[in-house]
Symmetry: C2
Subunit: 209 residues, 2 copies
DNA sequence: TAGATTGTTAATCGATTAACAATC
DNA sequence: TAGATTGTTAATCGATTAACAATC
């Protein structure tokens, strides 16, 4: 496969397009143009076509795209035509919220393990998954073919947990802790920093008026 | 005030710099260079200086920046030298997790109200804040000077809730629902889309190997 | 054929990086 | 003064937008 570098913004939009197409499918719409998608998700039609062009030609000139077909392509491009196993580290409020969120299931993600250090919650269940101690991290990741780690521990513990996940062979990490984490190049890291998001809003509120 | 357009990426980094400076303050470090900050947060030193340059000159050539002083400037720039009142709509898992997260308190945010439609949880408390019904949305926002709304309701309800928030006078919205929301120009909207984040990881996992 | 819409190229815009004079 | 580091300009890089030939 010829690998051009795909902008991250493009990937995020593809995910959003796919969700919009799902909506259209529910409305039994059969065909859609780049212009309609653009309006639906708030970007330009050129943007939509450019994003798709990284991966191939999916439409018909003068006609548009077949909704269901394009949806299928996008799911495949996004790697959502198969399942990914997730391990959640930290079963506090955020970790629990994440585990309980139903939306992920439909999109190809399986929560395979949930770990915490707190003896009081170890042994209890979340979504049918038993919360276990940190000692099983390595074996769970290896035995259950887990590729994706979600970090919802306090900031101070985040780097250590990251190192453990990396050593056990996790390939990608979604980090909710407000810490800048160091990972080897081959591990994919994404940060969802709730504080930063709130503070960006604070900035624009304070700055513009 | 002369308003140059500040890149959003710059604002996000300022928030991260400020957190790093806080760490340095805890370690009683007095001075820091752009190069040290750069290594600490994983960007280039030119980036650090450029980001700061949007707002003024905060350092001393040949010396660097006074940690505490720069921290103070950044907090001011980010609008964190005062408090912002927040209303959370949706007290499910994610809304609760958000409400219970302590980090926001320290950074100038006060959770003033939490609303939900579920009769079973209305009347219960989260972090000392009573969960109320949607009928009080307007009065709460107006009376308690709430500028910031956090949307943690299911996707289907998100646009309606958004409209209500906008009508009641909220100035900025942090949206956790996986929906593209329409807001008037003057309202600042940020989306934290957990699904999209997970799917970006899925993409790179599937694409690179 | 006329109208619509794609796929793609070229132009534009904006953000990052490199380089260096200013200066402590 | 010599060494260090800022603030800023110019060069580079990358992403978005505009425009249009291809084609259904």
């Amino acid at each position: 496969m010829k690998v051009y570098k795909i902008p991250e913004a493009t990937v995020m939009r593809l995910s959003i397009y796919s969700r919009y197409l799902k909506q259209l499918m529910d409305d039994d719409k059969e065909t859609v143009s780049s212009g309609e998608i653009a309006i639906g998700v708030g970007v330009s039609s050129a943007q939509v076509r450019k994003d798709l062009a990284y991966f191939g030609e999916f439409g018909t000139r003068g006609v548009g795209y077949k909704v269901e077909e394009l949806y299928g392509y996008l799911m495949k491009i996004l790697g959502l035509d198969r399942r990914w196993n997730i391990i959640i580290i930290g079963a506090g409020n955020l970790g629990s919220a994440f585990a309980l969120y139903q939306g992920f299931m439909d999109r190809g993600f399986t929560i395979s393990a949930i770990l915490d250090v707190d003896k009081k919650i170890i042994g209890t269940e979340l979504e049918g998954v038993k919360i276990e101690g940190m000692d099983v991290l390595d074996s769970r990741v290896r035995e259950q073919n887990i590729t994706l780690g979600v970090i919802t521990v306090p900031a101070v513990a985040a780097q250590e947990v990251t190192d453990q996940l990396v050593n056990s062979g996790v390939k990608a990490i979604l980090n909710f802790s407000p810490r800048v984490l160091k990972v080897p190049n081959e591990v994919i890291l994404r940060n969802v920093d709730l504080s930063v998001n709130l503070e960006v809003l604070s900035f624009y509120l304070a700055f513009n008026r």
